[in-house]
Symmetry: C2
Subunit: 393 residues, 2 copies
């Protein structure tokens, strides 16, 4: 039985297996429990549906009886970036590292059976390396090999500094594979180089080199290459269902298919069918499937219905936020919109001029004409901005 | 008083001071005893008159009241070259390292007051570096900075592997300057890059960066760039006076001036005068001065006289080696020369044909004619090859 057969629908979330698919088939054919490594970067505590892709591959390995080896990368977060240039690599205190690790493990418990996993901290072995061992480790790779890594090559060509410790960090990550004796390592396409270093270092250590299972990276909901909580374009595993649905509907049309394939369990044929039809329908089905996966089918359906209700003419959403205003003041449509929705004056005026602003369902067409407010009215701008005007106390 | 004035005639053995000569002047002006670092590579135990150049600069610093800090580079010799490609960097046992260190110190005792020097082994601090400290060290330099080093740049351009531990070794050597808090470091032009790394790492450690005093490298007696015992082109501090004189006279004409300036104390004006005259006279004076420096003026004169005696027509050197031959065999001039001096048949024949071969002062002109040998005769080929033919027992 090939890995593809064993993985079934999950196989579509794998981009490449290297050195070759047959290596993974051979390993799975040995019938012994494989040690499947997945490294976790502790600088961020928020697990996105992008991070979830390899975790679900790992969960499938668990289901097949293999050992998930989760490596908390605490060594690098404790040391940080000595050049101080990499803002994404802050130095964390041991307490922060432990807290972030706990948060990670808590979140991924929804995807993986963490109790059955082997959880390791790489400071266990990295902090104990002697200078002589580090020299030997470094001697296993050449500068040219390191500069083959796409991101290093680009920076070297551009003249952007590459600090030497960055090379060491690659070696350390590779050495983790020796320390845990991994048979398989999982990671996104951005980790291809590092996973290969692991193979080289395992070989030098006299052990069989791991097979590497690489997943595609999921773009952010804004379509940018990296999904990241800090970029504000991520859907997290802890994102509440309503926001999860709303965020998913903001994905660019061109990425709906990719989101379907990587972030839902909807069958390929059904995805194909949906992509041929109305994109907005496809998008809502995708968003519903993402919510359904994380909160259940019921929640998915409920969010879809709530979302659709907002978009039906005249019908108001259930939870319109209150906006306290001074009812005695002289308001215009423009100042009301600006105040209620925090947009600029120019943006507010544009919305009014487009006929997109209503007060209790009546269009406010003149941007500057005075508007009387008693309190309790619903102000609406465009399809999705609602505020209930309440008297300020 | 500038460093040039303080160093007097020794100043000519300095090629550059960086960052600038005024930095060394400023340091010397502080009147406190400076810590002057000189690193010793323990892979070789033979100290050449090339190695002697910085040692004599160091001795001058000692005379001026400063502290010579000799660093035995034992860490790197104990760890070696993990890639196994650098044959000049064998792994030595701790006993070999100690023995080589003792040999070095014994030999340089002729140049330097070793008892007053501070002798350190860099394993003292390097073997104790933690992985986190090494990461911080590595973070102080970039790949581009390392590849600025001429030898690395050349190898990178050629596609010759540069292993990552070579970068680490540069960092370690630089860190030595932090560990011993050096004010000044001495080294040859081939060490310019490494000495500068020391400055960078000292700065990061919050201390003043050392001034670097760079000496020219002395070519081997065969004119090749590197003088090295293993290349057979070196004059060692332990070379006996006769060989020292003989080796010095083999220096190419074009290098006589450089040997004078770097390896003797002959005054500049006298060197100029000699270089304008007969090159052979200049060469003998240079050789005499080198022997005189190491074994005294008397020894220098004696070696020169012995050497000149050989070259005077008809006069024979005092110590002609015996060459046992079968006097009953049929010899020709060619086979005699080949046997006595270990040259090829073609070379022996060429010497005979050039009229350069005599037996007891009589020229042997025919390469193939039979030559009768009784035993006890002196065979000579060219100006300097002599052998006394003795009957083989």
């Amino acid at each position: 039985m090939s890995w593809r057969e064993m993985f079934g629908p999950r196989a579509r979330t794998v981009e490449t297996v290297f050195p070759a698919e047959k290596d993974l088939d051979r390993l799975l054919g040995t019938k012994r429990p494989l040690r499947v490594k997945f490294g976790i970067d502790l600088t961020s505590t928020s697990v996105t549906i992008g991070n979830e892709i390899p975790l679900r591959i790992l969960a499938r390995f668990q289901e097949l009886g293999h050992t998930a080896v989760l490596i908390l990368g605490d060594f690098t977060t404790l040391v940080g970036d000595p050049s101080g240039r990499d803002k994404t690599r802050p130095v964390l205190s041991p307490e922060q590292v432990e807290a972030n690790g706990a948060t990670w493990l808590g979140q991924i418990g929804k995807v993986l059976d963490v109790k059955r996993a082997e959880v390791r901290r790489n400071s266990e072995w990295l902090a104990k390396l002697t200078p002589a061992e580090m020299v030997r480790l470094a001697g296993q790779l050449t500068v040219a090999q390191m500069l083959e890594r796409e991101s290093f090559a680009k920076r070297y060509a551009e003249g952007t500094p590459i600090h030497l410790h960055e090379f060491l960090y690659c070696l350390f990550q590779g050495y983790d594979s020796v320390a845990v004796r991994s048979d398989v390592e999982l990671g996104g396409t951005d980790q291809t180089f590092n996973l290969n270093i692991g193979r080289v270092i395992q070989k030098h250590a006299g052990m069989a080199s791991q097979a590497c299972v690489i997943n595609p990276l999921l773009e952010g909901i804004d379509g940018s290459a990296k999904m990241s909580k800090s970029l504000g374009n991520a859907i997290g595993l802890d994102t509440p269902p309503k926001d999860m649905f709303g965020l998913a509907t903001r994905v660019p049309d061109a990425l709906v298919g990719k989101y379907f394939r990587l972030a839902t369990d909807v069958a390929d044929a059904e995805i194909e069918r949906l992509l041929k039809g109305d994109v907005w329908t496809a998008k809502k089905t995708m968003a519903e499937a993402i919510v359904a996966r994380h909160y259940g089918a019921e929640a998915g359906r409920a969010e879809r219905e709530a979302f659709e209700r907002v978009f039906r003419e005249g019908e108001l959403p259930e939870d319109i936020p209150d906006c306290p205003i001074d009812v005695a003041a002289a308001w215009s449509a423009t100042t009301l919109v600006r105040t209620a929705f925090g947009v600029s004056g120019a943006e507010a005026r544009r919305l009014v001029e487009q006929g997109a602003v209503t007060l209790e369902g009546a269009r406010l067409a003149d941007p500057l004409a005075e508007v009387k407010v008693k309190g309790g009215e619903v102000l609406r701008a465009g399809k999705r901005k609602f505020a209930r005007l309440v008297p300020k106390r």
